[in-house]
Amino acid sequence: MDIPYTVLPRKDTGLWNAKVGIWLFLASEVMLFGALFSTYILLRVNSPETGALKWPHHLLNVPIGTFNTGVLIFSSITVILAWASLVLKNLKAFKWWMGITILCGLAFLGIKSREYYQKFTHYGVFLRDGTVITGHMKNEDVKLKEGEVTRYISNLQVVNGVVNAGPMKGSEIEHVMIAPDAPAGHGHEAAEHKAEKIEGKDIARIASYGPWYSPYFAIYFTLTGLHAIHVFGGMVVNTFMWGPGTKMYFTNPQRFTNRVEVAGLFWHFVDLVWIFLFPVLYLL
């Protein structure tokens, strides 16, 4: 028993099965990211004009982001070349281009996680008067009141003495020291300022630049995180095509080419999503 149209197209639709399947799947992905973009717009429109939750501009590292965008777009062209090599029956070239594609994906994720790390080690102290001081802190910069171990809404918890990534309340803090960022600069490399001391009674909350920091960071981490999962998924598929999956080339080359095309379509879609993510998160 054979399922028809796995290799050659059906006459009336002109398509083979997996082509229909992948586009349907991508349609659902459009709705997934559509909902997240919808959330982005809403959070942004709702955000206050001033104060701690004001929507930031050029907060992320633009050069790194631009470079990463380049990496992803480049990987999109290499995956095409990989597929084209297969169509032209050149398996060796396919292996090269696919290998490069996978490496690009790896580079993208590496750079992305480096960016995440930088954010997690950067802090904001929200004062009771509504202003925020952002900058760098170390564990010993925070002095908690005697015996404070706090549980917060849902499961975030801060253990005595250690500033975890999660936010903490001012009422539990004796005082903190923070080395503020240079005003109006976007680089952290700007000359370190002298640490300032802030009393616990003035502090509403402290948080690192994690998803909990503000609605902007919430949507930033969620969107880029989901996107990264997609990149990872695409890499798994690509690696399969590059490695064990290649076996099929010798038994059913046409079908293998179809598979690579489908994997490529997914990969392009991931690229396409990033084309929107980059400006809305990094530039606007």
């Binding site: 028993m1 054979d2 399922i3 028809p4 149209y5 796995t6 059906r10 639709t13 398509l15 083979w16 099965n17 997996a18 229909v20 399947g21 349907l24 799947f25 349609a27 659902s28 992905e29 709705m31 997934l32 990211f33 559509g34 909902a35 997240l36 919808s38 959330t39 959070l43 709702n46 955000s47 206050p48 939750l53 917060y152 809404i153 849902s154 499961n155 975030l156 999660g166 936010p167 903490m168 309340k169 909350r205 948080a207 994690g210 998803p211 909990w212 920091y213 503000s214 609605p215 960071f217 919430a218 949507i219 981490f221 969620t222 598929v237 079908r255 179809n258 598979r259 489908v262 994997a263």
Partner: protein
């Protein structure tokens, strides 16, 4: 992304050779029955999973009905059993929930939320879409299998994992999710661990439906047998086709919302938490700036199409059964098809009729009110066409037909009582009352469930080669029919008197409810009696597998192509590739020797 069964076996054996020579046999058993890729086996897996969860969800409800009928009284026997079971699984949980057999308010909330969730996502969807879709659609279009058998299996196992997660959530500290099946934030954002598991479970269930939808749509587009043009598809296939699109495009926003609520709970974000949130008297430490209403939008963007996911397959089944048992063509096949397409399309633009109470302005309320009223038109067309189809037929009143006939007025009541809810002025009064509960249960319980029962009785001989017992089938039908109405009819009155849904005491403490609360006892009695009337069905179902009357491949003398396959159909379905030469419902065609002309018959 693509797969064939051949390939599947190829992999399986290769693997066995590489790794463990001696395990070859076990593996092939495993591939055949557990990680099966045959659409019929997967259909059966869905069927059993769905039926078990349906029963489970019903049991939750029977416990709640005790509390509503006799508020605060200890539940005999079951109460203590549940208490000790929960205590055993998680220390102290039983005492919190059911001490001495008395249900606590929090536990009532859990039961309600999980009843809704389980009935919809683990009961009806797996049955209507997973089971019937899988078993019947490839057969009706004359295909050998689904387009992607392995994705099909993945879809089932994703559902299975989701089901396990949901089930396990009853036994974690704090109990299962208790913020309603709608999980509104911020309530759900601050709820106990059960809510986290609910979200994780939902993500698996959604993934399952998405994979299923991709598979169904591709199958219907690509694998129709020669001659099976779009306008020759049985209406059931059309219904599944539209259902597939609803799932495909409406579920992802809820998946996104689920991820965001999970982030709210685990990573401290504030997607759905407003600024200045105060929890149990304490200002919370979240950043705020989110919007609780956004959750409602994303939820109902799925939620409304979901109700059509629940009803369309049932309509499809009913249509098949009616055509077959009236022995005449369905009246208005084309209008049925266009109605169902139109319905699917419109169901994406009505969602905020669930949110009239959230302070939407006049313009937007008017918009949703208008679309909602419009969407009732295709539903009415479908129902009318099915009613008219009965006209002048020589009806065979067998069990599937009885259930199909029962469906019509029940769905009619459910649908028509929905119309007032479409108007926002009226909905402001009826919202969140038992009127709403009665309305949608008429659609999903005596509506959809009857449709599903009709389907089970109708296709049972195809799946097993044997009939279910008619006499017990009739007992099942009439008992269920009476009890269903006994349960839901009084709820309309309660709701109109002002009794709210999700009330722990059924209205005892409200003066205005005093006139209607006595019917709570009757409702509960009906619910328990309904359970009794399912016993003949369960026994009949299992007994007939071995002892039912043996029948031919086409015992109902039906026209659609699935009846041309052997019963039960072998792997690969048809002995020779079928071809369609005519429309799906050619019954009693003048001049033909028999009163039915199968689609696959040449002349």
């Amino acid at each position: 992304m693509e797969a064939t069964v051949h390939d599947q076996h190829g992999h399986a054996t290769d693997h066995a050779h590489d790794a463990h020579h001696e395990e070859h046999k076990e593996l092939s058993f495993f591939w055949k029955y557990i990680f099966a890729t045959d659409h019929k086996v997967i259909g059966m897996q869905y069927l059993f999973t769905g039926l078990i969860f349906l029963l489970f969800g019903f049991c939750l409800m029977m416990m709640m009905r005790w509390q509503l009928a006799y508020p605060g009284k200890p539940m005999p026997v079951v109460g203590n059993l549940v208490c000790s079971a929960l205590n055993m699984a998680c220390k102290g949980l039983g005492d919190e929930s059911m001490q001495g057999g008395v249900m606590s308010p929090a536990f009532y909330n859990s039961l309600g939320a999980m009843h809704g969730t389980i009935m919809i996502f683990l009961g009806v969807v797996p049955l209507a879409f997973g089971a019937f879709g899988n078993f019947v659609v490839p057969l009706q279009i004359g295909a050998v299998d689904m387009a992607f058998p392995r994705i099909n299996a993945a879809s089932y196992w994703s559902l299975f994992v989701g089901g396990i997660v949901m089930f396990v959530s009853f036994f974690v500290p704090g109990g299962a999710a208790s913020s309603g099946w709608t999980s509104y934030s911020p309530l759900a954002g601050i709820a106990t661990t059960g809510q986290t598991l609910w979200l994780v479970g939902m993500i698996f269930l959604i993934t399952s439906s998405l994979l299923g939808a991709v598979n169904f749509i591709t199958t219907i587009i690509q694998l129709r047998a020669p001659g099976m043009t779009w306008m020759r598809l049985p209406f059931f296939v059309w219904a599944q086709f539209v259902t597939g699109f609803l799932l495909l495009l409406a579920f992802p926003p809820l998946e996104a919302a689920g991820v965001m609520q999970l982030m709210d709970r685990l990573a401290g974000t504030s997607f759905f938490l407003p600024s200045g949130l105060v929890v149990t008297g304490m200002p919370s430490v979240v950043s705020g700036g989110g919007s609780p209403l956004l959750w409602q939008h994303l939820f109902w963007f799925l939620g409304h199409p979901e109700v059509y996911v629940l009803i369309l397959p049932a309509m499809g089944i009913v249509c098949e059964v009616i055509a077959c048992n009236t022995r005449k063509p369905i009246w208005g096949y084309r209008s049925l098809v266009f109605s169902v397409l139109f319905l699917g399309f419109l169901s994406f633009v009505v969602w905020a009729h669930h949110m009239y109470m959230t302070g939407m302005g006049q313009k937007i309320s008017t918009f949703f009110q208008t679309t909602t009223v419009i969407i009732s038109v295709p539903s009415v067309i479908i129902l009318s066409a099915l009613f008219i189809s009965l006209w002048g037929g020589s009806i065979r009143f067998n069990t599937p037909m009885l259930f199909a006939l029962g469906f019509l007025p029940m769905f009619g009541i459910g649908g028509l009582t929905g119309l007032p809810l479409a108007f926002n002025a009226i909905d402001l009064y009826l919202h969140d009352s038992y009127y709403v509960i009665a309305h949608f249960h008429y659609v999903v319980a005596p509506g959809t469930l009857f449709g599903l029962f009709a389907g089970i009785y109708h296709w049972y001989p195809k799946a097993t080669g044997r009939m279910m017992n008619e006499c017990w089938g009739k007992v099942h039908f009439w008992g269920s029919f009476v009890c269903m109405n006994g349960i839901f009819m009084p709820m309309f009155l309660q709701g109109m008197a002002g009794v709210g849904r999700r009330w722990y005491d059924g209205g005892q403490t409200y003066e205005f409810a005093q006139g209607v609360i006595h019917s709570n006892v009757g409702i509960s009695m009906s619910a328990w009696a309904l359970a009794l009337f399912q016993i003949p069905f369960i026994i009949n179902f299992f007994w007939s597998i071995r002892h039912g009357k043996k029948v031919s491949d086409n015992p109902w003398e039906a026209t659609t192509i699935e009846w041309a396959a052997p019963s039960p159909p072998p792997h690969g379905n048809f002995v020779e590739t079928p071809e369609a030469y005519r429309g799906p419902y050619e019954y009693s065609v003048p001049g033909h020797p028999k009163d039915f002309t199968p689609q696959s018959q040449t002349a």
